[in-house]
């Protein structure tokens, strides 16, 4: 109901705005709308990849993993290590090796930091935030704190008159196909079924003979894998440095909360909402530093309307 009203209001505002524009203004506005549509779509697809791992580990294990951003950063740095600094591999094997390595790091993080305190959600947050700072320090020690280049593809293409780099297209395609694979994995495979069972009721799943510990480790590995891949793909058209993990962390919070914690469909839609909100601010106000603030403001607004996000589980009696 609220969604329908909101869409009607937005359409009405856009149509009135369009009606009062001058012809030259209309040409300019049309170019802006094209850029808005395409860039929003591209960034939304990559943000979905970033947020999926976060929502997956919360949905299955009730872990709010503050080290998610750090795993994203580690992905970019491991790729740099394999493809440039230590081994000079081709991009594809380097990506595969880096992603697998970060998945292992994710499992170790779970075992060392999260497992001892998993009962206490606050302690989990504090400990994983500590783990993120540890990763940051380790990366600074090993690779120094300056920006590093990450190169996957070069060149660009015009789509509907909007210049898009191949790296952005690659990121979009890879992230959408991976999301589809994850969806199939969770829906069809036996392990995916076990994940859904644990997410619904941990005790009952244990009684059915599911090894929850091993499942949590596996979920953490998948989550870290997605984070690392998102790190490589996003860093390929922005920059990578050891402190780059805070803004994607805030971003994945915004996305995941927007869609409802633990809901995969929700985080997919939330990612596109956030992607479009960011591009709206950058394209129409020209102040790119407001990007992060805009996405967080959208998150706060939506939470005020729906306290459990768009697709989150309904909370208990409130107010």
């Amino acid at each position: 109901m609220i969604a329908v009203v909101a869409i009607v209001i937005v359409v009405a505002v856009v149509l009135t705005w369009w009606y009062y524009l001058s012809p030259a203004g209309r040409v300019d506005a049309f170019a802006k709308i094209k850029r808005f549509t395409i860039y929003g779509l591209l960034s939304g697809g990559v943000y979905a990849l970033l947020a999926l791992g976060f929502t997956l580990i919360y949905g299955v294990a009730d872990v709010v993993n503050m080290a998610h951003g750090a795993l994203y950063m580690l992905g970019a740095y491991m790729f740099y290590a394999f493809s440039w600094k230590y081994f000079q591999l081709d991009p594809l094997p380097a990506v595969i090796l880096a992603v697998i390595l970060v998945a292992f790091i994710g499992m170790i993080t779970y075992r060392l930091f999260i497992h001892p305190v998993i009962e206490d959600i606050v302690a989990v947050m504090v400990v994983t935030l500590g783990a993120a700072l540890i990763f940051q320090q380790l990366v600074i020690l090993n690779f120094t704190g300056s920006n590093i280049p990450i190169v996957l593809l070069t060149g660009s293409e015009d789509i509907l008159g909007v210049s898009v780099t191949y790296q952005q297209i690659l990121a979009f395609v890879v992230s959408l196909s991976l999301i589809a694979i994850l969806w199939l994995f969770i829906r069809k495979s036996k392990i995916g079924g076990a994940m859904r069972a644990v997410a619904q009721d941990r005790e009952a799943a244990m009684l059915m003979g599911i090894n929850t510990e091993r499942l949590y480790m596996l979920t953490m590995a998948i989550s870290a894998l997605f984070a690392a891949l998102a790190g490589i793909l996003i860093a390929s058209y922005t920059v990578a440095n050891p402190r780059m993990w805070t803004s994607p962390l805030a971003m994945s919070f915004a996305i995941v909360i927007l869609g409802g914690l633990g809901s995969i469909k929700g985080s997919l839609i939330g990612a596109f909402i956030i992607g479009y909100a960011e591009k709206f601010v950058t394209i129409w106000t020209g102040m790119s530093y407001l990007e992060g603030a805009a996405s967080l403001a959208v998150m706060v607004l939506i939470l005020l309307l729906r306290p459990a996000g768009l697709f989150g589980k309904r909370l208990e009696v409130e107010r």
């Binding site: 302690a123 504090v126 320090q137 941990r202 805030a250 107010r319």
Partner: protein, 394 residues
């Protein structure tokens, strides 16, 4: 026979001598801090103690919010930053004196607490934590983006008046070096007294009727609502009280270092009270205060010395370059509560995993377990843990 005498003596000793009432501990703590400067410690140490007194107020305010009303705020730097920036901007733009701007900063923080707390009441648990995390980040980007003439941009508002300006002492005939020491000493006493007063107020509120009502909301919100408690009012009140003391800490900090900078709003600043409170024990007001000083000694003195020893060892066994690296970057290796480094974070994580209830609370619990008479007192301290167990009975 002899052994039984020993046992009896030991039990009398533990129940009568080690049976230190908390009030006596507080008195000892107070006396220690009042008379500690008589040993004439270095200005460096006094400065660190002052800084951590301010952080202890901040941590205690966070502890009140989570330990009493159960609302987890990951963005407590909002109050710290708003306090610092309000007081700083008033001083900078209108030239008002300290004693006028600090109350205004605190009042604005209460207002902000209401503004933020009211929408936040709709959300709960991890949602609340992540929503509160958003506010300081939004404010940070706004301050960074606004022209520098309003809030100083990247550098923050610099050149603020500090407590007890140095002229105050030079006019009274102190030499330059002595005046600096006297200034540090005066600031130390001021911050310590403010810490004592604020923690006393927080403690009294926490253990008053209001505090009990708040704990009942933490325990079971539906049941306390059914008993006729206006939970919205009480939760908002907890937010406002926490915002008051968080803002006070922010104002004090800005006027202690003389700068209201962006670092007061950063994620690490929100992280400071969380580490401190976790080490001290959630739900006690004394826990974070004790843990703040423990962390100070750990981060500023113990760990650097330990790392220096380690560096010497490394050099001796042949790992010369590693030892040299360690020795030349001791601060970036260890860090402190305000800028956590690698070794500091590892130590903190080990402490949290080993003592999930907190150091200060473990010590006090042990003291209380020694005497059976006061066993039933202050049972409320375990409430936070109990709620966690109730959620997942495995």
């Amino acid at each position: 026979m002899v052994l039984s005498y020993f046992r009896r003596t030991y039990s009398i000793f533990t129940s009568k001598v080690l049976d230190v009432p908390p009030r006596l501990l507080v008195l000892l703590f107070f006396l220690l801090f009042m008379f500690f400067p008589l040993t004439r410690p270095g200005a460096d140490l006094l400065g660190k103690l002052t800084q951590y007194s301010i952080l202890a107020i901040f941590a205690a305010s966070w502890d009140f919010l989570i330990g009493r009303s159960g609302q987890l705020s990951l963005g407590h730097a909002l109050f710290f930053g708003v306090g610092a920036y309000t007081s700083g901007a008033l001083c900078y733009h209108f030239g008002l004196p300290l004693w006028a701007t600090i109350p205004m900063g605190v009042l604005l923080c209460i207002l902000v607490a209401f503004l933020v707390g009211f929408p936040c009441l709709r959300v709960k648990g991890p949602y609340l934590a992540l929503v509160t995390l958003a506010f300081p980040i939004i404010l940070l980007t706004v301050f960074l983006g606004l022209p520098a003439k309003y809030f100083g941009g990247e550098n923050g508002i610099t050149g603020l008046p500090v407590f007890f300006p140095i002229e105050f002492f030079t006019e009274r005939g102190f030499g330059w070096k002595e005046a600096i020491y006297q200034q540090t000493l005066a600031q130390y006493y001021l911050m310590f007294l403010l810490l004592f007063i604020s923690s006393y107020i927080l403690y009294r509120i926490a253990y008053s009727k209001t505090g009990i009502v708040l704990v009942s909301i933490l325990d079971d919100e539906v049941a306390s609502k059914a008993s006729g408690i206006n939970t919205t009012k009480y939760k908002l009140m907890a937010f406002a009280i926490s915002g008051l003391f968080g803002g006070l800490a922010g104002c004090l900090y800005a006027h202690w270092i003389g700068v209201a900078g962006l670092s007061t709003l950063m994620l690490t600043q929100s992280f400071v009270p969380i580490i401190i409170t976790f080490l001290g024990g959630i739900g006690t007001i004394y826990g974070p205060i004790a843990a703040a000083y423990i962390l100070m000694f750990l981060g500023e003195f113990v760990l650097p010395d330990a790392v220096e020893g380690l560096a010497g060892l490394m050099t001796n066994i042949g790992l010369v370059s590693l030892g040299h690296n360690l020795k030349s970057n001791i601060t970036s290796w260890t860090g402190s509560a305000t800028s956590p480094g690698l070794i500091f974070m590892i130590v903190i994580i080990i402490l949290i995993i080993k003592w999930p209830t907190g150091i200060a609370r473990s010590v006090v619990d042990k003291l209380e377990d020694l005497s059976e008479e006061r066993e039933l007192e202050e049972r409320g301290k375990r409430i936070w843990k109990r709620e966690k167990k109730k959620k997942s009975p495995s």
